[in-house]
Symmetry: C2
Subunit: 249 residues, 2 copies
């Protein structure tokens, strides 16, 4: 196993950081690594906004559900799906791209592009001994985030990423069994086997929480998911996305 | 600069592979690396299908636009957004999650989850000296892909990934200027500056193609994008996605 794979397999979210900002050089290395990720047909359909202004960080934390690590970290990034630059370049070339960039396909392309870049940023940061945490919480109030960061039409802030020097030890969280996530040649639709894999995994997770919390928590993964998914969260998203010119046509 | 960042920055798509299959151990290392990526609220909303059956690979290549490297590679993966397992676990827990998993929000979560996993797989493979190429072409005909791989409802094949021992040398393709992709504290909306960055980048790209093709190609990035985005591609996507139970509510 090489050091890169060791880094990947050692990933765990860090939610408490030392009060030490990243250097400009570190930030640039992380952004360049993000940019080096694959991009669909070279479209480069994303923008990354670094948030360093303490007032903006406080406001962002409030919008995202008051997570302290949105304020206290070494650097904070917001990853956005972005077809704004493409709209401008189309004007320059007098190309009519409205139907194309308003399609569900291009919405998917932009999200995937942004996510590939983000994961490269995460890996780069972790390889430098830094910790990271993705912040999906910014999607609690994208109207607020959009106003705060002044994002134009054809741009959707997708998630944040807190980066910094770890000030806590956290465990690697066990994942679903490999054979549940990975199928060969056909999607395995043996429901009994499929449920058994989840039940076995529930035991692993229950033991993991029991150990980590000294017996306070013993919840299962399927139980967590059933509860989490019962809540109708962020149901304004379609309106927001369409309002930003990703029409989901 | 550490070796992981060197790997990230050296990324280039590989479209010609040696005829040497990956070992089971290599495949498992890549899948475990994928699984180690962050996942929104632990949802693990993706499935990866390895395609090794030569007949299926031929068919997949045909569906994806006849790219030879879909057939000839060391291993081929298809990454899918997947809420099928969540539907099953909700039945077990008698939880009503329909509105939740049919939301635009959960569609986004599933896409981002799958993309983060995929990028970890790409990085793992490249760190092992392998090359990769994302295959968005499978979205040309997802009905065909769905039939070929037998994916159930609540599953959307998003893209493929050809992996293998490189049998070609390709260059690292220059990316947009860092200051164009990366903004601080606010989305930079100085249109003149923004256009200038793209014009400067066009020169870089034009020179890059000139050099790579011995003068045969001198196209610019904005020109490429304007042309590419003028085409209305994959406009069936909304129907497909909604037909698979991602209702974009």
């Amino acid at each position: 196993m090489n050091t890169t794979i060791e880094t990947l397999l050692a990933h765990h979210s860090v939610r408490k950081f030392k009060d030490q900002p990243l250097t400009r050089e570190q930030v640039e290395t992380i952004i360049k690594s993000a940019q080096a990720a694959s991009t669909s047909s070279y479209i480069q359909a994303y923008t990354i906004i670094g948030v360093t202004d303490p007032v903006k960080k406080e406001k962002l934390a409030e919008l995202a559900g008051n997570q302290s690590y949105v304020v206290h970290n070494g650097h904070f990034l917001v990853f956005c799906a972005d077809l704004h630059r493409h709209e401008l370049l189309a004007e320059k070339h007098q190309a009519d791209i409205a139907d194309s960039i308003e399609s569900t396909e291009k919405f998917m392309v932009s999200l995937i592009d942004a996510a590939l870049a983000a994961q490269n940023a995460a890996v780069a940061a972790e390889s430098m001994g830094l910790g990271i945490c993705y912040i999906g919480g910014i999607r609690n109030d994208l109207n607020g985030v959009q106003e705060l960061l002044n994002t134009p039409s054809r741009v959707i802030p997708l998630f944040g990423m807190a980066i910094g020097y770890p000030d806590q030890d956290t465990d690697v969280k066990p994942r679903l069994p490999l054979e549940h996530i990975y199928h060969e040649n056909t999607y395995e639709q043996d429901e009994e086997k499929y449920m058994k894999q989840m039940t076995d995994y529930d035991e692993v997770i229950s033991k993991y929480y029991h150990k980590r919390t000294g017996g306070l928590r013993t919840d299962t993964w399927t139980g967590q998911m059933a509860k989490m998914l019962s809540a109708k969260r962020r149901m304004y998203m379609k309106d927001f996305v369409q309002g930003k010119g990703f029409d989901l046509k």
